[in-house]
Symmetry: C2
Subunit: 276 residues, 2 copies
């Protein structure tokens, strides 16, 4: 099976590595509008060849690892692919993508969200094992033909992923709380520190807590702007709830209600009874 | 040198491990009001003996690894120690502690904040290497006699720490941005998710980003309530700034100002040019 990867960055490059490790493709082609990324992907041996759009369309499977707005735009290029060509996207949002892809390829188009990543990007960020033992959410698979769904499912299982199926609408809400809201929170924390008159002096004291809390604020603005746009309504809802929880904590601190703060923290602690 | 550790939890227990590793104490005594912790500390061989208050006072060095309000309260018990007994506290706040310790022991009392830790607590949380290659802030050392300051400095250097000296007021502001605000932000994120009608379903999708962002929301409410109380004013200031940065992001999202969001994210990214 020839597999074409569109966008050879952290996700696409790491996926190529996984495909090679488990010998799941006879040939891996890379498609990327960024010339530097093309060069690096070849140098790092992530893909066998860089291809043009016509060659890409001949692949047995096309994997879209580009920002979510790009996925919608690029799907229009794929309207005339063969009925046997599977398309899978790795976007962090799902509802708007599935609403906007051409109906001609809806059966072929498997909407996937691998729940993994790092804050790094570009082909040099590709790592071994990024997908192993991680969850991938497949959305609205009732609209896929079983041929394409099985092809994608087999690949994800073969690289060690656990599959969850979900409604796209539900996915976008869950992904908002587990990923998009945390990114907003982390960006705002980084922005707060950077707005200080002397951030360097403060950052000297950074330890594990701050490092963890600010890590994802290093993520790509191009990618995250798109995600915020596509999941705008859910993110605004989540931000409203988050703001109210933060305001509650601040109010208790203002009122010196330390019993209340203790209870609040103890309730937050219970998250970790679920999150193993 | 006999060293007495008050509070044999994550910080105290890990410090005892470091003292043993580098053979810096002839005997390590543990003092803890929690009987279970006493037992575990002995079983784990963190300390050589559990001692009473009178024996503790005979130590050459007393290390206070208890919540910050406890440090102030306990310091009153140490008023009559020998001029040669060094006291060092590991509290996360400094200004209020230094304002409230008895003047009779001010020379002996070295105020330290090791910038390290995990979200775990109790003696079983003690780990090897917690202090190695980490920063410890010493505050208002001009009020210490050189004898006590050198004793503490030598110990910290011997276990591989890097020492920064700072004014207590300045420390409390910096520690607020690097540690106390991130804890508030993480507790609020955990509280947001736990307030959802079905947190279990959402948390199934948790990946690295959410795990990192919620890790410190597992921290001890006893310890963190005290810290929030002692650094209340700075934390309220920081929360106000943080809220305004978050509100700015939300407003841009409401107004679909994606150029603005892109710039905001790019500015947040610059934190990582400083944070290596």
């Amino acid at each position: 099976m020839t597999i074409g990867i569109v966008g050879i960055g952290l996700m696409g490059g790491s996926f190529a590595k996984a495909l090679k490790k488990y010998k799941l493709a006879s040939k891996i082609l890379g498609y990327d509008h960024n010339k530097e990324h093309q060069k690096t992907a070849l140098e790092l041996n992530l893909v066998d060849e860089i291809c043009d759009l016509n060659t890409l369309k001949q692949c047995d499977m096309i994997v879209l690892c580009i920002p979510v707005d790009g996925i919608i735009a690029f799907s229009k290029e794929l309207v005339e692919i063969s009925k046997n060509t599977t398309i899978v996207d790795f976007g962090s949002t799902k509802e708007l993508i599935l609403k906007n892809i051409p109906t001609q390829i809806r059966e072929n188009f498997v909407a996937a969200h691998p729940m993994t990543g790092t804050e790094k990007f570009g082909p040099s960020a590709a790592i071994d094992g990024l997908y192993e033992d991680k969850i991938v959410v497949l959305c609205d698979v009732c609209d896929n033909s079983s041929y394409h769904l099985e092809k994608v499912t087999n690949i994800f299982k073969s690289i060690g992923m656990r599959i969850i199926q979900m409604d796209a609408k539900e996915h976008d809400i869950h992904a908002c709380y587990m990923s998009h809201l945390p990114h907003a929170v982390s960006y705002a924390l980084a922005k707060t520190v950077m707005s200080h008159e002397n951030p360097n002096a403060i950052i000297t004291l950074a330890a594990g807590g701050f490092r963890d809390m600010s890590r994802i604020a290093k993520s790509s603005p191009n990618m995250w702007c798109d995600i915020f746009r596509q999941n705008r309504t859910n993110l605004l809802d989540a931000l409203n709830i988050y703001e109210s929880k933060l305001a509650m904590l601040k109010e208790m601190l203002q009122n010196e209600d330390y019993d209340g703060i203790h209870k609040y923290m103890a309730k937050a602690n219970t998250l970790h009874d679920i999150l193993k």
